[in-house]
Subunit: 224 residues, 2 copies
DNA sequence: GCAGGGTGAGTAAGCACTTACTTAATGCGT
DNA sequence: ACGCATTAAGTAAGTGCTTACTCACCCTGC
């Protein structure tokens, strides 16, 4: 996640930066599993293979450790921050006004990301419930930008006459709802996929088609 | 919630049942605010206006207190458990094969319930993250039943030729996604309604129309 | 030889939970 | 209507353990 080099379960000494990253990673794993108040600094130390004192040599408090995780995540996300960054197929579809393609590739990227980063999703949920200000800001900025970006595209396509008259933010909310709820089911409530077991491609395709039919001005006919 | 009589901040003695209910309510409020491990038995006692020992006279452990909350909720929900119980307009719409009415009244009831019971929603989220077995069972049964009920209706309407060929569970997932995500925004991430501020009627209407256009066999035309 | 990674053994406060005890209500026989 | 036993509501002050956090002091590789 943060740094793959730290995987070596090195018994002896370790450069400071590397040990710091390892502690960060251990804390991340544990916070995402058991929440902030459900995780002890002793647990974090044990998982990092060091004494508790080392944790406090790198981070002055448990709270600071939490803040450092979010800071690290914010940076490490980098180019992959939004589902349209480094998503060439989606940007190409936007250019070509291929609405189904736009929604499909957006959905695909989002679902893959949720699946690849279950721990981070859990952490975000915990911090939303615990009302950690940093997480709230993180989520606020991120979601706001998605509404802006997708909303703009929808408004433009409404002007083209492709989409019916409806508040674009409602379309975005519906679409994100499908994606997030699907991921939430897979992460939290139905991890065994007992209710619905479909792969990301099928899900992305279904949700894209659903939202497109839902928002289209003229009856939509599937390519297949 | 559990019992309104307990509102009296009665300084002196109180009948056992009443005090028990009061402690249950305090614990419910605190668990939903700060999670299970974020809440102390001392907090619960203070909020109930009694000593910690009283908490343990009524409930043998913190875990049992948690279980008692879920048990109490399970019963108190009663007739209002599912969004179609005591929802005459929706059942009437089903009878009349008024698909828009079915989705609208379902959505309306669900959104109202989420809004009225924010604390319970938070508690369910916490317990999903904390993987409390009782909460998982609670959620599993509930969601499973919703998929069965709505899925059946959709399958029947597919047989009528009203809905296109698509796995009904995907339609249900899309629809529940819209509703839950909308409530989640209002409860957790966008409590100030900065991104999207619409009332439940508008939301229910929009989502119902969206899912119906998304799933309909023939192009849907709105009544308005 | 010394900077910096690393620790063992703390500390004070907080945790879930218990014990030994006091106080207020409720019968109930006379 | 009274005294008195019984019971239930309530608590102060613990129990042993865990928590976040500290400090004095080792090593070891360069």
């Amino acid at each position: 996640m943060i740094d793959d080099l730290l995987k070596c379960d090195h018994h002896g000494r370790m450069p400071g930066d590397q040990r710091r990253a390892q502690i960060l990673q251990s804390a991340f794993d544990l916070f995402s599993q058991k929440g902030f108040s459900g995780t002890t600094t002793k647990d974090i130390a044990r998982r990092s293979g060091v004494s508790e004192a080392m944790v406090f040599k790198h981070f002055s408090s448990k709270d600071e450790l939490y803040a450092a995780i979010l800071e690290a995540k914010k940076c490490s996300e980098g180019l992959h921050k939004y589902p349209w960054e480094s998503n060439e197929p989606m940007l190409a579809a936007m250019e070509a006004k291929d609405d189904l393609g736009v929604f499909y590739h957006f959905a695909r990227q989002a679902l893959e990301k949720h699946q690849a980063d279950v721990a981070f999703m859990r952490l975000l949920f915990y911090s939303a419930l615990e009302e950690h200000e940093l997480a709230e800001r993180f989520f606020g900025e991120f979601v706001h930008e998605i509404y802006r970006f997708l909303g703009n595209y929808i408004a433009k396509r409404q002007a083209d006459g492709a989409f019916r008259k409806i508040d674009p933010r409602i379309v975005v909310r519906s679409f994100l709802g499908m994606l997030l709820h699907h991921s939430l089911n897979n992460i939290l409530w139905d991890r065994k996929r007992k209710i619905l077991d479909i792969d990301n491609e099928t899900a992305a395709k279904s949700f894209a088609e659903m939202i497109l039919r839902g928002a289209a001005a003229v009856p939509f006919t599937a390519a297949t």
